[in-house]
Amino acid sequence: MVGESAAGAALPGTKKKRHWPPELNALIGLIGIAIIFEILGWVVRDQSFFGNIVRLKIMILQVSIIGIIAIGVTQVIITGGIDLSSGSVVGATAMIAMSFAQVGTYDKAIFLEQGWVDLPVIVPIIVGLACGLLAGFINGALIAYTKIPPFIATLGMMVSARGVAKWWTKGQPVSFPTDQFAALGEGMMPVFIFLGILLLFHLIMTYTVYGKHTYAIGSNQDAARMSGINVERHLVLVYSIAGLLAGVAAMVLAARGLTAQSGMGVMYELDAIAMTVIGGVSLAGGRGSLIGTAIGMLIFGVIISGFTFIRLDAFYQEMIKGGIIVGAVVADVYRQKRRAAES
């Protein structure tokens, strides 16, 4: 006892441990994986992986649409929740928004009879945003007010929204959008949209009350409630934003492919969750950032296009992808355990 208090006196409250942000781990991971694929590139194909600008562009394009979803999913996971519905919401929103974006010269346009063709681009955009927002709002309201686990609420939405996507046209794809709508997915536009949304929400999460409360709820929901935060209302807002961003991703995806199909976005929710977790966002809530998710997204992109580059069979790609997701969660659990042991 004497020794203990003496030691304490010598170091009054100096438990100053270097603060090692999980984003840094993710960044080191990204660099490591990049180097591995660069080396594999020379070994397997005798060419540079990163020396090819076209390949990098394709890689970024591939991941940035799911990245838009991941921005919303990150906020949900920071509150300690999960959103399994994003992929299906993408499918439903793409179908519905696209049917308000069709050209009048297409004789099978959904709303040809009503004359709702060649509409200004703002109409399908508002419809798409509203669809995503509605789905997210339902998720949030269920989770906040009926107290069912986020896993169950969003699983229900995952199934239902996929049903909506199929019901909307009885399974028929919706094609031929106006040029204006198609511009949403043209060239590097998806990447710019992703970057804009990333910047916006990074600022929101860092500098506003919304961000503070999102972290507080994930960190200690009871404390947040006792501090007077309206936890229920905040959760509805967070899930609504996640739905809204899934809606944005849906429109970009449909615009890029010039068509919407009811099977669009299948498994996107898991890819988005994987990017988030790989980026160091803790599934237990309260920790992580959108910068981490952006790095996680790049890791994801490098791995997927890296596998294709070294001509790994698609079957193996899926198997390994599953392993990476589980691995990232295992790393998170390990981090938490170590942290619990420290405090």
């Binding site: 208090s5 441990k17 603060h19 009350v209 507080a216 501090s227 905040h234 920790r287």
Partner: protein, 256 residues
């Protein structure tokens, strides 16, 4: 009397058939430090939950600063000026010290509803002042409090009261989980509050601490107040006798 900060009249709480709190009449005067003692389940925490708005009493009246009040939630009580340090610290581990102090009532630069811009510098400054007032030393207030010791975290919870100029501070066993040195730190904060004339209700099992810190001791037993003692006119043995029921205060005869 105008210097009465808090007063309860016949405060009663029943949980179904369990009479957790019966007819509690309690008074706290300006600048006074009062300890609430009693065995586990004697009704101390129930009493605190009623006056902090966590629960609503079955019967009875609550007066705060001369006015009858009905708190519909902890935030109500907090806005009225009653700041509570709960046994389970109501802190968010992943946030830094200013964020925790201002949780739920952040200072903002620009009001945009839920997206209001935080006044981070203002909160940091107010935090430093609050910590100074309670003489709490924390090496780096920008670290998440997860990395802090139990004592430091407790101090953060207590510093909230000083930052918001609360009119009444309630501490529910603030040192139960702390080491010797950390306990001393918390006790020093209590002394600082006393010197500043801030009233306090302290719930504690620690007899030495109670006699060291407070003016008056209230003893609960089986949901009732069985003694109201001046700390200077009583001793540990006496208090234990009341806690265990071996003795009952004259004015409370028949209550136990």
């Amino acid at each position: 009397m105008s210097d009465i900060i808090l007063k309860t009249e016949g405060l009663t709480k029943h949980y179904g058939g369990v009479h957790a709190l019966n007819d509690a009449n309690f008074e706290l005067r300006a600048g006074e430090h009062v300890a609430i003692m009693g065995d586990n389940g004697a009704g101390k925490s129930t009493f605190v939950r009623q006056i902090t708005g966590v629960e609503r009493p079955t019967r009875g009246k609550l007066f705060f600063l001369g006015k009858e009040v009905h708190f519909s939630g902890p935030l109500d009580a907090r806005e009225a000026g009653i700041e509570t340090v709960f046994q389970t610290l109501a802190l968010a581990d992943d946030l830094d010290v200013p964020s925790n102090l201002f949780l739920g009532r952040e200072k903002t630069l620009l009001n945009l509803g839920p997206f209001s811009i935080l006044d981070r510098r203002g909160m940091r400054k107010a935090t430093e002042e609050g910590l100074k007032r309670t003489a709490v030393k924390i090496p780096n207030i920008n670290n998440p409090i997860r990395n802090m010791s139990g004592g430091q975290r407790q101090c953060v919870a207590i510093a909230r009261t000083a930052t918001f100029h609360s009119k009444l501070t309630i501490m529910d066993e603030p040192t139960a989980a702390l080491g010797v040195q950390e306990t001393e730190q918390v006790e020093n904060i209590v002394r600082t509050l006393k010197a500043a004339g801030e009233p306090l209700i302290l719930i504690s099992h620690n007899m030495r601490q109670v006699f060291d810190l407070v003016d008056r001791i209230i003893v609960f037993r089986r949901g009732r107040i069985v003694a109201n003692l001046n700390a200077s006119e009583t001793d540990g043995q006496d208090v234990v006798a009341y806690i265990t029921g071996a003795k009952t205060g004259a004015e409370y005869a028949g209550a136990a």
